[in-house]
Each structure stands twice: as structure tokens, then as C-alpha cells.
Subunit: 411 residues, 2 copies
């Protein structure tokens, strides 16, 4: 069978390999100490509470075994999300639970929204760097990702205006709070400027906000959704993956009614419905716990991980040229090693020769050849006792890599 | 906001409403006795066993809370499916568990396979009548559904050849066993002829087979997958929805390795991964029960439902002109009422004036205006005690509708 002749244009030409997954596979095979994983610390999954919530949902009379009647997700959970986000001041006035659509994680939200809006030849704005599996979804639809450089206080609005002078875009995809991979947050002032630009150039904003509740200091800032008010151009993506557990596969999209209607049709065609058991267990969980306390405990632990890793890196890896920033929340440290000319090469070198895994920063840039000296380090799963060993291995790997590079040069 | 200007071509022009869902909504609102639902009988969900399986999965050390490492589904369940289907003689030699890809129900399989193969302007062959949510998926990709009339022993191969003389098609979508909506099964002889045609005209076969294990008499026949042998042109879709519970959202796709690789990439872009808890609970369930006995019990009950409904219809509705066939398994009776010129009109009339819901057959035809006198009746959820009342209501609705029609004519 000549499969490429049968596959369509998308599967032949527009399906990218996940570079993150490729590195994680090699890291696992080599049993490297991982500073690379972008997932929560497993010890923080509230397993006992979740078990109880599942058992209650399983023993209830809820209609969990049949096809779901609610293609958008169970009403109780959508209502709960509405009330929770409203009490945190994150919603626009127009949002009701009818505008909330439950997804199999935010990735499904990104995918369905792309399916709803994107035609081949369209362009979208993305932060540079940003989450590469989002670029992958957009590009699957034959769309160009235009790069807006991300600064510590948010996207470079002058660069954004320069792009918009030349291109019409469908939307701007942004992770405004403790961004992946940088940990940067967009200031509220900048959010307002970007909303003005969005209005002027008439594009939508996709606000992907999974890290907001993991704030270590101060406030995570407001949402674009709230700041936009009556202007219904912000579509918000939330997730329980980082604050409860990603295995529950539960996120949500908040969108104006005409968009939600399309999402429901796309859901029917794509999967008919999602399993209600999971949504009911989450509903039981969130309504039964002290959520602020739970989120504070998560933030306390992750803050401790961040601080221990930064301390250890300063001692063992910064002397080898690593420069890092200190994020106010989330999972990630962003940095660079100015003397490295190919961080992906170093990543594989470090796994194989130093038994330590890092994520090369270049894979987070929409264009090839950018950010070749940048690096993402994740502290989420790195307990303080591992931080010291991880930083030592990273420092040692940098030292060895520099020697190899210098030997190459002198050849 | 002018949303249609923002939506893409697909969401503006190629997203169909589900006519099945529309009728079910009205039927529910009117509290009609339903002979329309295409879902299992809830009393047959093995709830006690499933609860135990979930509790074991929840109490285990299985990695159910994090992101799944196995984008294709958990290895144990894929292995179990391989062994089960092989022992039933349903697989081709080339199939291993690596070719099995777990889905959120067969709808996700149809959707991902469409995403893999279909470009706008392509054509596919479908049975006429067949499952309309499959047409909806194919058409979402801008594809034409070419109708092959379905006869009681399977597709009309002469009609198929006539279409293929004029059109190149990507695949033939077929439900070979106790088809929805007809209950017809394709004979093994015809499967072989169709495989020859597929080879000659070089298209794939998508074999959607969720009803196979609900056989009331004799054998459900073999699979295209097995009959094709080394010729890797059959992609098989299986499902636990009809034999365990649809709320588990678990089906599977069996495909050659190059296709499975694409499905995995499409999974990552679409949802990252599915919730492993459900797969682990299903694995516990299927390995802990006497499956043949479970399937026999289901078939016994559904056979009783079929027989009671047929008996009641013969007494109360056939005298009003209903003609029905007797399926050897599955959920559905297929029939016609020759004097009716618009079954959809009758369906809404029957719900509102007779408090009984049926599924008009015309919505199962790929082209408008076909099968206007056809009807699908589902016995799956109709217990014998309801069958009598349902048949009476249907007979009465037919009688009233005929009077209304005759009055209209004489006006």
C-alpha cells in the first residue's frame, strides 16, 4: 500500500512531530533526572479526595453510563465554573454557564476553536516563544503563525503593530499568566493596549490561562476576558489539569453564544460527547473541598520547588554560563546560555552524557533558528532534594559540552 | 460581532445539524413513548461490576492521574482486544496490539480517520441508508457521499460498480453487521466481492462494527478485516458502547501501522491523550467477567425486546400499513409505510398527536428526498410491557395521520 498517496494534504504535510515528546522519550529511556517535564508534581494530586469523589459519583443515580445529553458538559460543573470565576473577578458580564463548554483538556479547546475559525492560508498571531503544541494545531489547518516577541511584561506591542500593518490575522493566541515556556505574565496595562489593538485590527484573542491559580507572590493580574467587557472578542481557555490532575482530561472554553453553538456541533461530529463520570467526580471534588486552601497548598509547594531549584542552579549551573529569570508562579524557569549555539544539541548531549534532561528553548519559537541559546527548566516535579543533584548534573553537562565545543572549534 | 465573517468555510457551510438529536429533543419535551432511541437499554449496563472495576482502578497504583504516556491507549486493553478478536477469528494476520488505537467512542475514530484521509472535493462511498452522523463527519471535510443502495444481504454491488466507473473514491464506509438503521447484515460472499472491487478500484474499506456481539440467531458472519488477509485496505472500528456502556466513551480503530502513526499525531494535536481511568476500569471489567455469558445475556434480552415489539406492531400498526423486517441482531427494525409521502412530517405528528416517537427513515439517506416512506424503530430500550403500548400508539398515530392526509387531499 502506498499510504502517502492515500493520506490527505494535512496528514502528509501538516502534521508535526512533537519535539517535546521526542525529548521526553529519550530522557525516559536514559533514565535522566528530569528538569524538562511540563506536568504537575504527582504527589500533589489530591488522590484520596478524588477517590472519594469518584466513589460518590459512581454510587449516585447520576446518568453517567449512557450517552451524555449535554454535549457541552454537565450543567452543574459549568455553573460552578461560572460562579468561581465570577467571584474571582475574571468574567465579562455577558458570560453565563451557557457560554461554558467542557473539553478533554485545553488541547481539545484549541483544536475545536481552530476547527471553527481557521482556513488554509489564514494567519494568527502567537507569542514568541510559546506552547509548540498550539502552533502544531494551528499549522495543521494550513495557517501561518506570526511571531510577536514576548517581553517580561508581555507581548511587544510595537512588533505586533508592525505585523498587523502587513497582515490580517484571525486571532492572537496568548498565555498571559506564568506563560509556558517563559513564566512571564502580561501586565494588565499591556492587556488593555492589546485589546485596543485587537479592536482596531478586528481580531479575536484566545486567552489560554491554565497557570493562573499557581501564584507565588502578589496577584496574577486580571483576564483579557474581564478587561474586554462588552466587546465579545476574547475566548478563554481554562483547565483543571494543573490544579487537580491532568488525567481527568478536563478543561473549558468560554465563548460568545454563536461560537459555543459551533463548538457543540463540532463536538457531536468529533466524539458525540465526553464521559460524564469524570465531570461529575470533578464537580463533587470542587464543591467538597476548601478550594482556596487547596490552591494555596499547591502554590506553597511549587514556590518551594522554584526557590530550591534557583538556589541550586545559581550555585552549580550559573557559573557555567546559565542565566535564569524568576517567575511569579507556574511551572517554568526561562533562561539562556549565551555561549551555546544549538540548545537542542545540548539537550540530547545532557541527557546522554550528564543524565539530566532540560527542554531546549528553540522548540518553543514559531520559526526555526530562533532562541538557539535559550532553555526551559521545569521545577514543578523537582523536589528540593533533587534540585541540588539536577543543578549539579546540569552544571557538569554544560562544562563537558563546552569542552566538546571548544575541541570541535580547534579541529 | 459579525461571527459568520470570522468563522471558516467549514463552520459556516459544512456543519450539519443532527436531525436525530432534533427529533429526540422534541420527543423528550413531549414525553413521548420512544421507539426512536439508538442507545442501549440502561438496565443492561453492568453497573455493579463496573463500579467494582472502577474502584479497583481507583485504588490501584496505575498512573491514572497524570498525562497518559500512551497516546494510543493503555497497552493492556489493546492487547486484550487483540486476543479477544483473534480468538473470535475477526483479525487479519498483520494485526498486533500496536495496530489498535483506543478512541472516545467510534465517532472519534470516524473523525480522526476522516482527518487523516479526506481532502475537500474527495468522494467516499456510503451505504444508503446508513448512519447520518458519519455522513456529517465526511461532509465536514468537504467530501461527497456517494450512495450505494443497501439490500438485505448487503450493498448493491452492481450499483457500486456503476458509481466507480465514474468516480474515484477514498473509501467505502460500511456497517456490515445489523446495520444502523436497517438491521441488515452483509453476507460473507458479498464481503469478498466488495473486497475484490475495492482492490480493483483501489479504495479503502472503513468497517464500523459495533453491533456484532448482539446476535440473536445464527452467526454474525466474518469481518472484512479478516477476509482481506494480507491486503491492508480494511480499517476496522470497534466499540464497547453497545456491549458495556456508552458513557465509558471507549471504542477502537484497527489500522495498518502508517495509519496508526498518523492517528497518534492527530490525537496529540486534538486532545493530547484520553483519560486512562476509564480504560483501566474497562480492562478490569472485561478481564474479570465471563464475557460470552455477558454477551449472551444481552442478546437474550434484546431478542426478547425485538420479538415483543414485532408481535405488537403486527397486531396494532401493520394493519395501518406498516411493513417491517426482522433483523438477526442489533437494535433496529427497518420498515416502510407505503402510503406516507413524508416520514419526517409523520414523526413530528406522531410525537405531538400520538405521544410516540419513531425515527423517520429519510434522515438516514445521504440524499434528500429518498426513503420518504421508510421508518426506523428501535427495540433496544423497549421492554415487552412497553411494546404493546408503543405499537398501539403508533397504530393510532398512523390512523390519525392518514385521516389528516386524506382531509388535506380532499381540500
Amino acid at each position: 500500500m502506498d499510504w502517502p498517496e492515500r493520506f490527505n494534504d494535512c496528514s502528509n504535510n501538516r502534521l508535526e512531530d512533537s519535539e517535546i515528546a521526542a525529548i521526553m522519550r529519550v530522557a525516559a529511556a536514559e533514565e535522566a533526572l528530569s528538569l524538562a517535564a511540563g506536568e504537575p508534581f504527582a504527589a500533589l494530586y489530591p488522590v484520596e479526595h478524588l477517590r472519594e469523589s469518584f466513589m460518590r459519583a459512581l454510587s449516585s443515580d447520576l446518568p453517567i453510563w449512557g450517552y451524555s445529553n449535554t454535549r457541552a458538559g454537565i450543567p452543574s460543573l459549568r455553573k460552578w465554573i461560572e460562579e468561581w470565576m465570577r467571584s474571582d473577578g475574571l468574567l465579562a458580564e455577558w458570560v453565563t454557564s451557557d457560554n461554558i463548554f467542557i473539553t478533554n483538556g485545553s488541547q481539545e479547546g484549541l483544536s475545536l476553536l481552530s476547527e471553527c475559525f481557521l482556513d488554509p492560508g489564514d494567519a494568527v498571531l502567537v507569542e514568541s516563544p510559546s506552547y509548540p503544541e498550539a502552533f502544531g494545531v494551528f499549522r495543521k489547518f494550513g495557517v501561518e503563525c506570526l511571531s510577536v516577541p514576548l517581553l517580561p511584561d508581555g507581548p511587544d506591542v510595537d512588533a505586533m503593530e508592525a505585523i498587523l500593518a502587513k497582515h490580517k490575522v484571525k486571532f492572537f493566541y496568548t498565555i498571559p499568566t506564568f506563560q509556558n515556556p517563559t513564566g512571564f505574565s502580561t501586565s494588565d496595562e499591556k492587556k488593555r493596549r492589546i485589546l485596543d489593538i485587537a479592536k482596531k485590527h478586528d481580531f479575536l484573542i484566545l486567552e489560554d490561562d491554565p497557570y493562573r491559580n499557581l501564584t507565588f507572590e502578589g496577584s496574577p493580574g486580571g483576564t483579557y476576558l474581564h478587561a474586554a467587557g462588552d466587546d465579545e472578542r476574547v475566548i478563554y481557555l481554562g483547565s483543571f489539569s494543573k490544579i487537580i490532575a491532568p488525567g481527568l482530561r478536563c478543561g473549558w472554553v468560554i465563548s460568545p453564544a454563536p461560537v459555543t453553538e459551533k463548538l457543540i456541533k463540532l463536538r457531536v461530529m468529533g466524539t458525540l460527547c465526553l464521559p460524564e463520570l469524570l465531570q461529575n467526580a470533578i464537580m463533587d471534588f470542587v464543591s467538597g473541598i476548601d478550594l482556596p486552601k487547596h490552591l494555596e497548598a499547591l502554590s506553597d509547594t511549587y514556590r518551594g520547588h522554584r526557590d530550591a531549584l534557583i538556589l541550586a542552579l545559581r550555585e552549580h549551573a550559573c557559573p557555567e554560563g546559565l542565566e535564569i529569570t524568576t517567575p511569579g508562579g507556574g511551572f517554568f524557569l526561562w533562561g539562556r546560555v549565551p555561549w551555546i549555539r544549538d540548545m537542542s544539541e545540548f539537550a540530547y548531549f545532557a541527557i546522554r552524557n550528564g543524565k539530566v534532561a532540560i527542554m531546549p528553548g528553540d522548540i518553543f519559537f514559531p520559526e526555526n533558528g530562533q532562541g538557539i541559546d535559550t532553555i526551559r527548566l521545569s521545577f514543578s516535579k523537582v523536589i528540593p532534594a533533587m534540585a541540588e543533584e539536577g543543578a549539579k548534573r546540569l552544571g557538569e553537562a554544560l562544562r563537558k559540552f563546552r569542552i566538546v565545543q571548544e575541541e570541535k572549534k580547534s579541529e
